[in-house]
Amino acid sequence: MVMRWRCFRQSAVVEAVTDIRLLETGFSPGRGLGKFAQQVPEAGGIASFVGKVRADDGVKALELSHYEPLTLPGMQQLAQQTIGRWQLDGLLMWHRVGIMRPNAPIVLVSAAARHRRDAFEAADFVMDHLKSDAWFWKRERRDDGWHWIDPRAADHDDLARWG
């Protein structure tokens, strides 16, 4: 599942390790980050984000559904777009699907770069796009049953920052 992409960026060929996965079962963010870091020894910095199912608000479970023919290809396109925009040594993007319990990790994004700003901005960019511009549908189970969740207005505002 780990691949190397070659993309043209400002007339220079750049190569970055990518690791893009849709996961049907739970994963350990710490172990995922540890292994990713070993694959990008040249990187001076790695910025990461872990999103979890919140353990409050009376949510008993969260279900993320996806559409196979679009969701993973969409994540791969997002990775290529990100690699084309920032100078990265590597980009990891793992996203859960299926039913998750509170506190379970949903998403892990990690961007490795020579320079700190590239790593931070790339991780931030990927998260904003996964959050409101990727093919996932989310519903929560509460005491009174399942409820579909729409993106918050703040998510659209976040996305708009990238132009």
């Binding site: 998403v107 093919w135 579909w148």
Partner: protein, 79 residues
């Protein structure tokens, strides 16, 4: 001679996760095959349509043949 129609997100609550419809299938035929409340929900222009895994820029241009898969995709939420 049928087309698989897949419903994502809250549309699945209105029309089931998947339906078989008679081929060939165009936009009018798709609407005609749906229950009233699903038809109303799909009236929202933000609902996208994919034909064999490709998004259609004009969903009303749908022309699906036997064995094809069509998916109706409401606005997403993730992360």
């Amino acid at each position: 001679m049928s087309v698989t129609v897949v419903f994502l997100g809250r549309l699945a609550d209105l029309a089931g996760a998947e339906q078989m419809m008679e081929a060939p299938l165009d936009w009018a035929g798709l609407l005609a095959g749906l229950p009233e409340d699903a038809r109303v929900a799909i009236g929202d222009a933000r609902v996208k349509l994919a034909h064999n895994g490709n998004l259609l820029s004009d969903r009303e241009a749908l022309q699906a043949q036997n064995g094809d898969e069509v998916a109706l995709l409401p606005p997403v939420s993730g992360g």
